[in-house]
């Protein structure tokens, strides 16, 4: 029942309250009207007795007039008038009371009734005597009747006056009652008015309250507080549905904003990564350019030297110069794009070849490459700095016993490139420093192309989108070092 009431539409509820309030006022009005009606009926009845007596007096007059008329003219009209009025008067006097009470009315009525009997008797005897032309007799009866007529008349008038006085008193008291009732009615109406106004205000207030709370919440939301507390919906009416819908809307707005925020964050991270890649590359290039002032001029010059060596028949010189030229060309060409592993491996080959010419073939270079992986993409200028480190810090002082072993193989989902030397090895602290990017290089040597391990590692991490892109392993002092890089497949 209650839930049924609660799920009524708002318009039904509001009009229901107004109808009930009006109905209440209507009922009170009806009750008051009934009271007023009862009072006015009483007031009407107040002078009822006086009206009755007036009627009696008129009837008595008409009997007397009819008798006099008949005595005067003896017409049949006056005779029939007499019969009619006599009948009427007898009826009216028959209604009079005969009780003897403390109050004079009853006794007076009784006397009027008794005298009227005598009077009518005298009148009829008068008429009879007149018809019989008994002049003496009808005169006597006429006088008798007239005397009684006067007495009755006086009685009726006196009774009328008595009753008028009493009735006037009653009327006054009724009128006073009426005034009191009027005041009471106005007071009641006023109280009813206040009461129904109070009830309407309370009930509509209770109905509208959720709407007010909702609007407050909406205000708060519009001021930017998405976490504003939402009102609980009490009723299942329009306001309840609105509140519910508002709540749902708020939740989905929050979700939507969260999604947008996440995607923006992702985009920003991507941009940052790209920017970092570019920065590191630029850094590498800058370092390279510092080292190689004019590579084009250099390898053109080298090419000229190579041609000269060929013309002079010095094949090995030719080959060496050619290698050096290729090495530098690679640096110029492939600096800002992803390259195949093959290109990097070839660069390492060239680098080793150059070194072997410089150090008269002291470095034993072995490579073990899975041919299927050679076309895998990777950032440029990665392997050569690693090999360069292995040579410079690992095997430089070993003479012809230095070994470099390059291995390209597949391990689960990664392509691994391992550069291993049999040189000095590294301490655990140094390894951690290098991997953590905290290694401070000493004064740049002329043999370096200037790209540090920190740069290499940072670029690999950006490319692989993970941290463990490099692993450095050393079994200890003079037991060599292995650097493995992991590339995504």
């Amino acid at each position: 029942m209650r839930s049924k009431l609660q799920s009524l539409p708002l318009s039904y509820k509001i009009s229901g309250i107004y109808i009930i309030a009006n109905l209440f006022i209507f009922i009170v009005d009806i009750v008051l009207l009934m009271g007023i009606n009862a009072l006015s009926v009483d007031m009407e009845m107040t002078y009822q007795d006086n009206r009755r007596l007036n009627e009696l007096l008129l009837s008595l007059d008409s009997v007397q007039d009819a008798m006099t008329g008949y005595l005067n003219s003896k017409t049949t009209d006056s005779l029939s008038d007499y019969y009619i009025s006599e009948q009427r008067y007898a009826e009216l006097t028959g209604e009079l009371g005969t009780q003897i009470t403390d109050r004079p009315y009853g006794r007076m009525e009784r006397n009027i009734k008794n005298m009227s009997v005598d009077y009518l008797d005298d009148v009829s005897q008068t008429i009879e005597a007149k018809r019989g032309r008994n002049v003496e007799k009808y005169r006597v009866h006429y006088e008798e009747a007239t005397r009684l007529y006067e007495y009755i008349k006086t009685y009726i008038r006196s009774l009328n006056e008595e009753q008028f006085v009493t009735n006037s008193q009653m009327y006054t008291s009724l009128a006073r009652d009426f005034r009191i009732f009027e005041f009471f009615a106005v007071a009641v109406m006023f109280v009813v008015l206040l009461g129904s106004a109070y009830i309407i205000i309370r009930v509509t207030g209770a109905l509208i309250d959720p709407l007010r709370q909702l609007s407050e919440s909406a205000d708060e939301v519009s001021n930017g507080n998405l976490d504003a507390t939402l009102p609980k919906s009490r009723y299942n009416d329009e306001i309840g549905k609105l509140t519910l819908a508002f709540g749902k809307m708020m939740v989905s707005i929050k979700e939507y904003i969260e999604r947008i925020r996440m995607s923006m964050e992702k985009e920003r991270a991507m941009q940052e990564k790209e920017l970092m890649m570019e920065t590191h590359l630029k850094d590498a290039q800058l370092k390279y350019l510092q080292a190689q002032i004019n590579p084009h001029f250099l390898f053109n010059t080298l090419n000229a030297g190579a041609q000269l060596a060929m013309m002079e028949g010095a094949d090995r010189t030719y080959e060496y110069v050619q290698t050096v030229a290729d090495f530098f060309r690679y640096n110029v060409k492939k600096q800002d794009e992803l390259v195949n592993i093959e290109d990097e491996v070839e660069l390492v080959d060239n680098y080793i070849r150059i070194l072997n010419v410089r150090f008269s073939g002291d470095i034993h270079y072995e490579k073990q490459v899975d041919e299927r992986l050679l076309h895998t993409k990777m950032p440029s200028m990665i392997l050569q700095p690693i090999v360069e480190n292995a040579v410079n810090h690992g095997i430089r002082e070993m003479g012809d016993k230095g070994q470099i072993r390059l291995k390209v193989f597949r391990d689960l989902n990664s392509v691994c490139i391992s550069v291993r030397d049999n040189g000095k090895g590294m301490s655990r602290e140094d390894i951690e420093k290098v991997v953590g990017g905290k290694w401070k290089y000493e004064e740049q040597t002329g043999d370096s192309n200037g790209i540090g391990m920190d740069n290499v590692i940072a670029r690999l991490r950006l490319f692989g989108e993970r941290d463990d892109v490099i692993r450095i392993r050393s079994d200890g002092q003079d037991k060599g070092t292995e650097v493995v890089i992991y590339l995504p497949l």
Partner: protein
């Protein structure tokens, strides 16, 4: 989860809904209850007016002056006795707008078929006829105060005229002794006090001559038997009461004559009142001794102030009561005693304080 939420909400809402509905219901009920109570109160009050006693028989009292306190007193005595017997007595004419004579009231009473009539008789022939008419119609008639011995009245209730006369005679002697006392003490200049005394008796014109004669003989007997050495001259003055106000004029005439009587005897209440007022107005207090009648407030005050020498009071209530008893007896048994005599009391300087006290008692009531 939804159901749980809803029941929680209902629990929150219930006290609030009750907070509106309960006052509404109480308010509506209170308004309706007050209204119904007021309405019932009104109905009960308006219904109260109709509790009247009803009586078995209806007697009427007919007098020549319904307003005099004498007749009012007689009436109240009659009413008191009548109501004990569940009979109502009406002072006929008191509710009528026209002042009828005793004869006309008799006619009205007869044609109203009352159960009994008490009438201030007198002895005009017309009254005799009317009393006979009533008797013919089966209505018993009692004459009061003044008899109509020739009629068929069933009883007479009055005072003994002879006794009244004797009492007045004794008062005349008292007046004389009073005058003598004053002259001996030198306070009176009246030289011929003892030689002769003029007595005027004011007689109602309507008073039957029979009654007058009885009173006069009583008066004379007193003066003759008890003191023979005074000379007195008794004259009667007929007071004209045929017109309203004529009584007062007649009495003033007495005071305007050259020979003003020494003693003025009044035989009814109105005469007494008029006489003492005239004595005051003509500055005759002390020289005219008024012997009054009845014990109305005015007369008692006059005695107290020495304007009236003394007054005879009839036990009026007893008279009224006797009338009812006579009628009741007649109605029950068909006949009754022919005469009822009411007591006479003398009021003078000696006992007037008792009457004043009684008066005050009555006023207090």
């Amino acid at each position: 989860m939804d159901n749980k939420n809803e029941s929680n909400l209902n629990a929150h809402q219930r006290p609030r809904a009750a907070g509106i509905i309960i006052p509404t219901v109480i308010f509506a009920l209170a308004i309706l209850t007050v209204g119904v109570l007021l309405y019932r109160f009104y109905m009960v009050r308006s219904g109260q007016d109709h509790d009247d006693n009803t009586y078995d028989r209806y007697y009427v009292m007919i007098t020549d002056d319904i307003k005099s306190s004498f007749w009012q007193s007689v009436y109240s005595g009659a009413l008191k006795t009548a109501q004990e017997k569940n009979v109502f007595v009406e002072l006929l004419g008191s509710n009528l707008s026209y002042d009828y004579t005793c004869e006309e009231l008799m006619e009205i009473a007869v044609s109203s078929h009352v159960d009994g009539i008490m009438v201030y008789g007198g002895d005009p022939e017309r009254m005799t006829e009317l009393i006979d008419d009533a008797a013919n119609a089966g209505i018993p008639v009692v004459t009061m105060y003044s008899d109509n011995p020739n009629s068929r009245r069933c009883s007479f209730v009055g005072v003994s005229g002879y006794n009244m006369g004797r009492e007045y005679g004794r008062q005349v002697l008292n007046v004389l002794s009073d005058k003598r006392r004053l002259s001996y003490s030198g306070r009176s200049t009246d030289a011929d006090v003892e030689l002769s005394v003029g007595i005027t008796v004011l007689v109602d014109m309507k008073m039957p001559s029979y009654d007058q004669n009885v009173i006069m003989s009583g008066l004379k007997d007193s003066l003759t038997w008890e003191n023979t050495d005074i000379e007195y001259a008794i004259q009667t003055v007929a007071v004209d009461n045929s017109n309203p106000f004529s009584v007062e004029e007649s009495i003033r005439d007495v005071f305007m004559e050259e020979d003003i009587p020494d003693i003025l005897i009044c035989l009814n209440e109105l005469d007494t009142t008029c006489a003492y007022q005239a004595a005051i107005d003509y500055n005759k207090v002390g020289s005219v001794y008024i012997l009054g009648y009845y014990d109305s407030d005015k007369i008692i005050n006059a005695i107290n102030r020495n304007v009236v020498f003394s007054s005879l009071a009839i036990d009026t209530e007893e008279m009224g009561s006797f009338c009812i008893e006579a009628l009741e007896e007649y109605n029950e048994s068909g006949n009754t005693s022919q005469y009822f005599t009411a007591d006479i009391t003398l009021i003078d300087k000696n006992n007037v304080s008792d009457f004043i006290a009684r008066e005050e008692e009555d006023d207090a009531k």
